[in-house]
């Protein structure tokens, strides 16, 4: 057992906090926010370039910064934050010491060095190969080195998470099963192991190829294995942000899962099947059988989608049940109207839930339908979809979580509370616009990763429909809105960490966004009769939108050239 002076007791939650774990959570979270700020700025420049009337970057810079944008936010921001979450969900929630803090610092250093090397490689201009770096297009060798070093660091951090679970069990720091949030983090960690293994299998030979030790890499083979990493890394996000939804609902409202059994089984569906959806990126590739495509793209008969749809009911259901217990019982939606919409942790979480489900979830399933993919592959529909999942879903959920983490972990009060209150709305609205307008442009055929869709200096002429050009303008405006929301987030977080009122004094006030809950709410006993009519209406609306949009796309498909 670690020395007792390595712990403090949290005055808000009563949890025992391992101080070395806390320091690591802080370091990983701070670096995550730095990459979000940098990557977000690059994203804004990319969106402003695709706004044809603004068209801010020259072509070389556009492709360069698009590559950096992908790496910085899609990998570095989310994964640094997820490592912080893994440490939080293991050491802190289990009242346990973190396994080998020194090794966690090594992991942190490796991740930071890897991310820095990859950024240098891209910014030097010889590695504008996009996030996907499809062979035979070649990046500078240190681009691959950076990614490999980052992956080694991440794998080490994931190993420390598993080590901490073992310690917690052996030292009996918790009773019975691990908390649901920790189980969600476990799901994320398991997916991360598969992700990083796939990354190692493909990036190491690709690095050897880039320095001339291997002559060729098969481009289709590359894609199969690369997407085992590229798509699965986004599935880490899904598992992690669902865990964050449950965590925020618990801290802010005292919500408890409707059913541990159902929520954990839903996570099990993720563990087993979510990673199969890497096949979404291979539906338009030559030579792979439809048996493989249909089975994998459907996450084995959509069992992982079943998992998401279960969370889609149990998270709002838990919130509704908790609110009704607090006395907000009026009508079907009284609980929702009276929800703490001025608390950015709650509003961010709920907007994340709605946008992820309606925009990200539905579009992902449609996009991943083998035949419908023909109308969407590599169009702007694809980034439209994943901005709804990774930005509106994951990033916004992580932002919301920060409003709890800063007072609990950094022990600083949130500064600029009014700005903080508006931040999730600004960011959410901006990202919803980005997702919708890119999906709209993609439906009209507009290519992704394309500097000039007016083809002004091409040898032949072509014009996309005027509506597509309009959508790209609206996308640019939405990106400005999202960037303002992102800037607000960075200002609030950095301001709070540096200048927020200290909350570690014994007589410190209750943190602003962590309400004191009546103890009855958290108690067990809502089992028996579950009364969640509002949630039933919400999931019914969701399901009808899903069915309608799904079949509308089959209708579109039936109108294109017959082919077989």
């Amino acid at each position: 057992m670690a020395a007792s002076n390595e712990f403090r007791t949290c005055s808000v939650t009563g949890l025992k906090v391992h101080l070395p774990a806390e320091a690591l959570i802080k370091a990983n979270a701070v670096v995550a926010v730095v990459f979000l700020a940098v990557g977000g700025l690059f994203g804004l420049l990319v969106a402003l370039t695709r706004w044809q009337a603004v068209h801010i970057l020259p072509a070389e810079w556009f492709y360069l910064l698009l590559t950096a944008h992908g790496a910085d936010v899609l990998l570095f921001w989310v994964i640094f934050f997820e490592v912080a979450l893994l440490y939080f969900a293991s050491a802190i929630l289990l009242n346990c010491r973190l396994a080998t803090p020194w090794l966690a610092w090594v992991a942190f250093a490796l991740m930071l060095a890897g991310a820095a090397i990859a950024n240098v490689a891209v910014l030097q201009g010889e590695s504008s190969v996009m996030f996907t770096s499809y062979v035979p297009m070649k990046a500078a060798p240190h681009f691959y080195v950076g990614l490999i070093v980052f992956a080694v660091g991440t794998l080490t951090a994931v190993g420390i998470f598993f080590g901490t679970l073992v310690i917690a069990r052996e030292e009996r720091t918790y009773q019975g099963s691990i908390p649901l949030v920790t189980f969600g983090a476990l799901t994320a960690a398991i997916i991360a192991v598969f992700t990083l293994a796939s990354g190692a299998i493909i990036l190491i030979p690709t690095f050897l190829w880039s320095v001339g030790l291997i002559t060729t890499i098969d481009p289709v083979m590359y894609k199969v294995i690369w997407w085992g990493m590229g798509h699965s890394s986004q599935q880490i996000n899904v598992a992690a942000h669902v865990a964050v939804w449950y965590a925020i609902a618990a801290v802010v409202l005292g919500a408890k899962p409707i059913s541990e059994k159902v929520s954990r089984t839903a996570f099990l569906m993720y563990i087993l099947f979510l990673q199969l959806a890497s096949a979404h990126h291979l539906l338009a590739e030559p030579g792979i059988s439809s048996e493989w495509k249909v089975f994998n793209t459907s996450y084995a008969l959509y069992l992982a989608v079943l998992g998401s749809m279960i969370h889609g009911m149990s998270v709002p259901g838990a919130i509704e049940a908790a609110q009704r217990k607090l006395g907000f019982n009026a009508g079907i939606f009284g609980w929702l109207r009276k929800a703490p919409w001025g608390n950015p942790a709650f509003s961010g979480m709920f907007i994340s839930l709605v946008l992820f489900g309606f925009l990200g979830g539905i579009s992902g399933v449609v996009l991943g339908t083998e035949q419908i993919n023909l109308m969407m592959h590599n169009t702007l529909y694809v980034p439209g979809h994943f901005h709804a999942t990774v930005v509106a879903g994951t990033t916004l959920a992580f932002m919301a979580f920060t409003y709890l983490a800063v007072p609990l972990v950094f022990r600083r009060e949130i500064v600029l509370p009014t700005l903080a209150k508006w931040q999730p709305y600004l960011f959410g609205l901006g990202v919803a616009g980005i997702s919708l307008f890119m999906m709209g442009a993609g439906t009209l055929g507009v290519a992704r990763r394309h500097w000039d869709i007016t083809f002004s200096d091409a040898p032949l002429t072509f014009e996309y429909p005027p509506a597509a050009i309009l959508m790209m303008g609206l996308n640019g405006m939405s990106a400005v809105l999202a960037a303002i929301g992102g800037l607000a987030y960075v200002l609030v977080v950095v301001g709070s960490i540096l200048f927020g009122k200290r909350l570690d004094a014994p007589d410190a006030e209750r943190p602003r966004f962590i309400p004191r809950l009546p103890t009855t709410v958290a108690a067990y006993g809502s089992a028996g009769t579950l009364h969640v009519p509002g949630t039933i209406v919400l999931v019914t609306v969701f399901f009808m939108s899903f069915v309608l949009y799904y079949f509308v796309n089959w209708k579109y498909l039936s109108e294109i050239w017959p082919m077989r």
Partner: protein, 181 residues
């Protein structure tokens, strides 16, 4: 709460609530239906991407394309004088992609079926046919063969939608679909 261990040691035996059971059932059946739709479309649908493909040497593929151009060239088009070919209905037709062009331009007959071959000479490219919005990945070293039946006359543009370097956004080609003479 979700951030603490379940209060009961054994939580698996808790009964399910009715709304949950109904929702899980609906979601499960919906998943089966969506899975079935993909299978059904292979049987009854008319838009399925062929899985017929061969590993090829780029030079060999280029030879076949040049043969087609030599046999069926009808004119040239554009500033770079890209040949326009009009192969007979039912025949094998080729579109070759390379930095940064689609070559040659095809002239196809409306309602006729062709075996279209797609391959790349260098990097990956994205065959994005507009405005019908058909999008297929093109790989070097692989010849993807699909039977297409253009069902509307008009000028179609092939946009490259896989990033392929600095000239990517200039890479466009054409397919003309004309009424039967």
């Amino acid at each position: 709460m979700a951030i603490t261990s379940p209060e009961k040691r054994v939580w698996w035996n808790e009964p399910l609530h009715r709304p949950e059971v109904i929702w899980i059932t609906i979601a499960f059946l919906w998943g089966l239906l969506m899975f079935g739709m993909m299978v059904y479309w292979h049987v009854a649908g008319r838009q399925n991407l062929s899985n017929e493909a061969y590993k090829v040497f780029p030079e060999k593929f280029a030879e076949k394309v040049e043969d087609m151009v030599a046999k069926y060239k009808v004119r040239e088009e554009g500033a770079t004088k890209i040949p326009v070919v009009r192969p007979p209905p039912g025949s094998d037709v080729y579109v070759l992609s390379r930095l940064w062009e689609w070559w040659p331009i095809l002239e196809l007959e409306k309602g006729a079926t062709y075996r279209l071959h797609l391959s790349s000479m260098d990097w990956q490219h994205g065959f994005s046919l507009q405005p019908v919005n058909i999008n297929i990945q093109v790989h070097p070293g692989y010849d993807l063969v699909l039977s297409i039946t253009p069902d509307k006359a008009g000028e179609y543009t092939i946009v490259c939608n896989e990033f392929c370097g600095i000239g990517h956004h200039q890479m466009i080609g054409k397919i003309h679909v004309v009424d039967k003479k």
